[in-house]
């Protein structure tokens, strides 16, 4: 099992993007997916950084793929998607419509925003050319086990959402703009003010969700720290780490250490590296995604508890 860094969900400045990927080039991860997958309006502000980031990551020995948007509706967005295919790098499809631009049989990756819930779908995508699939974050371990098996049979590497706030929803409407009483088309890029998204709490003050433009994420940081053994036994090929502000390279190193056999220390290391975060792992445990359960063995779904 190795590590894959997914595309950054948040809107960072070009300088912040450049620094992030420069540092990441030294991190112990096997591959990196880069690109704007949340909002096409953000891309002009940082797309000039992509070519340089790809170079520095490849120089660092990483495999690099480009991500499509997660929700493609506009003509401009469809053209952008078609253009991605011409870049000569693997493309990670995060909206199925991007497949229309992939020649039949040409290899591609599938991201967590495409609904791969069962063997039938995995096998169809494999026949179409998929070589790597990151499963949707809400899948329980039993499904992951079956899909990892189907993936081995179909020569598809199966990846699981390993670390980071889980993407829960995407909309035609921008909730960041709505919070500022603006429509999406006149958002003035307010999502750029919140490098880790904007907190949404319940009325009684419980941390709940995170708004990130048109995307909604969990508030708790998903981590499979307590489930690494079960995922390894299931034959999962890679864990996906989702970029966030803060000590991301240290987080990647902590997961790498865990994959090399000392996983017991991982939860405590994460708690130290992200002192303000709460953590959750309920999806893999077949419970509420926001729940945190203790260690999980293969095929066993422990009782959940809310934190």
């Amino acid at each position: 099992m190795d590590l894959t860094v997914g595309p950054n969900p948040f809107f960072w400045s070009a300088e912040a993007v450049r620094a992030f990927y420069r540092d990441l080039a030294a991190a112990p991860v096997a591959r990196v997916v880069i690109g704007e997958w949340v909002c096409s309006k953000r891309l002009p502000f940082w797309q000039d950084e992509i070519a340089g980031a790809v170079d520095v990551l490849r120089d660092g020995g990483k495999e690099v793929a480009l991500s499509t948007l997660a929700l493609i509706t506009l003509k401009r967005e469809r053209r952008m998607t078609a253009d991605l295919m011409a870049a000569g790098l693997p493309v990670e499809v995060n909206d199925l419509s991007a497949l229309a631009h992939v020649p039949v049989g040409a290899p591609f990756w599938v991201g967590p925003m495409v609904n791969v819930y069962n063997e039938g779908t995995l096998e169809w995508l494999a026949r179409r050319g998929a070589t790597r699939i990151c499963l949707p974050p809400e899948l329980p371990l039993a499904s992951i086990e079956t899909l990892a098996r189907a993936g081995r049979a179909a020569d598809v590497a199966v990846e699981v959402w390993g670390h980071g706030r889980a993407p829960l929803a995407i909309s035609g409407r921008c909730y960041h703009a709505r919070l500022h009483d603006r429509a999406k088309d006149s958002c003035q890029f307010v999502c750029g003010e919140d490098p880790d998204g904007r907190d949404v709490d319940t009325l009684d003050g419980q941390a709940f969700l995170t708004v990130n433009g048109v995307q909604t994420l969990g508030r708790a940081v998903t981590t499979v720290a307590a489930q690494i053994g079960a995922l390894r036994d299931a034959g999962v090929a890679s864990l996906r780490l989702s970029p966030h502000a803060g000590a991301f390279n240290d987080v990647a190193r902590a997961y790498d250490t865990a994959l090399r056999g000392s996983e017991a220390a991982l939860p405590a290391t994460l708690a130290r590296l992200m002192p303000h975060a709460t953590f959750c792992n309920g999806f893999v445990a077949a419970g509420p995604g926001a729940a945190l359960i203790p260690e999980q063995g293969p095929g066993q779904s422990a009782p959940t508890r809310q934190f």
């Binding site: 929700l71 493609i72 509706t73 998607t81 909206d95 199925l96 419509s97 497949l99 229309a100 631009h101 925003m113 609904n115 819930y117 069962n118 063997e119 039938g120 779908t121 995995l122 096998e123 995508l125 974050p137 809400e138 039993a142 079956t146 189907a150 889980a166 993407p167 829960l168 929803a169 909309s171 035609g172 409407r173 921008c174 909730y175 703009a177 919070l179 429509a183 999406k184 088309d185 904007r198 907190d199 949404v200 709490d201 319940t202 009325l203 009684d204 003050g205 419980q206 969700l209 708004v211 909604t216 969990g218 999806f283 419970g287 509420p288 995604g289 926001a290 729940a291 959940t304 809310q306």
Partner: protein, 326 residues
Amino acid sequence: MMELVCPAGTPAALRAAVEAGAHTVYCGFADETNARNFPGLNFSREEMAAGIDFAHDRGAKVLVAINTFPRAGAQDLWHRAVADAAAAGADAVILADIGLLAHAAERHPGLRLHLSVQAAAANPDAINLYAQAFGVRRVVLPRVLTVEEIAAINRETEVETEVFVFGGLCVMAEGRCSLSSYATGLSPNMNGVCSPASHVAYAETAKGQEARLGGFLIHRTARGAPVPYPTLCKGCFTSGDQTGHIFEDPVSLDATRLIPALRKAGVSALKIEGRQRSRAYVTQVVRAFRAAVEAAERGDPMPEGLLTRLTEGQAATTGAYAKTWR
């Protein structure tokens, strides 16, 4: 005339819809294969066959929604649902999952396939992909598009388009939302439920009446005021110094007045949400919309505000169809 596609959660609602003027009724089997897997709802195999006969005798069609995403290792349940719908004489099945579409196209080549809104095919590339790969004949468009975008889609595809005009409003792209499972462990995609009643708790507290979903407080209202159902995306939350309906107010979709524009945009069918609603709802909404599509056909103005009482929050929106919603 634009085809009116109406919901039925029970055999009684199916009969009510047909009698009120539905051209087409959609419904599902009583299990996790359909996206309205609610307590006390839906059709046994026998009820489905009888319902289809009833509708066909009166010139109406029946579409069977098998629109959740099959569980890994348990695809048989979904495959059987498609076979049983075909055997019962369904006019089409409404599917969302790629694997299930591939199965249906291969095993039931004579069966008409509609693409569920749960597939969230939001542009012509996606729609044409489903048509080429599986022979999909109609797509139910996700509720993230404006009327102009719908018109543009129709210019680029031969696939019929169906759009929601009334009822509960998903504010997120359908079929791509895990908010419910984040709070409760049960999701529309896997279990056919959103914000399930089994995880809802109401309580009277010193601060007012509270509605919780999976333990998370979704609404709090003054004593005596109606407590909305705690659908997660219509909840009241706090972000920074703001408190309110961060995602959407508790309103429903009513696009009656956009029917002429949707017709002009090339939309083939209008869909009414609400398989979880009563036969009283079905009768009133279907009758009003049958009158509206007939009026649109004649070029008459659209009736307005007839159905406010039936909408959540007693308020309606035209949702994403108007660009200002965004």
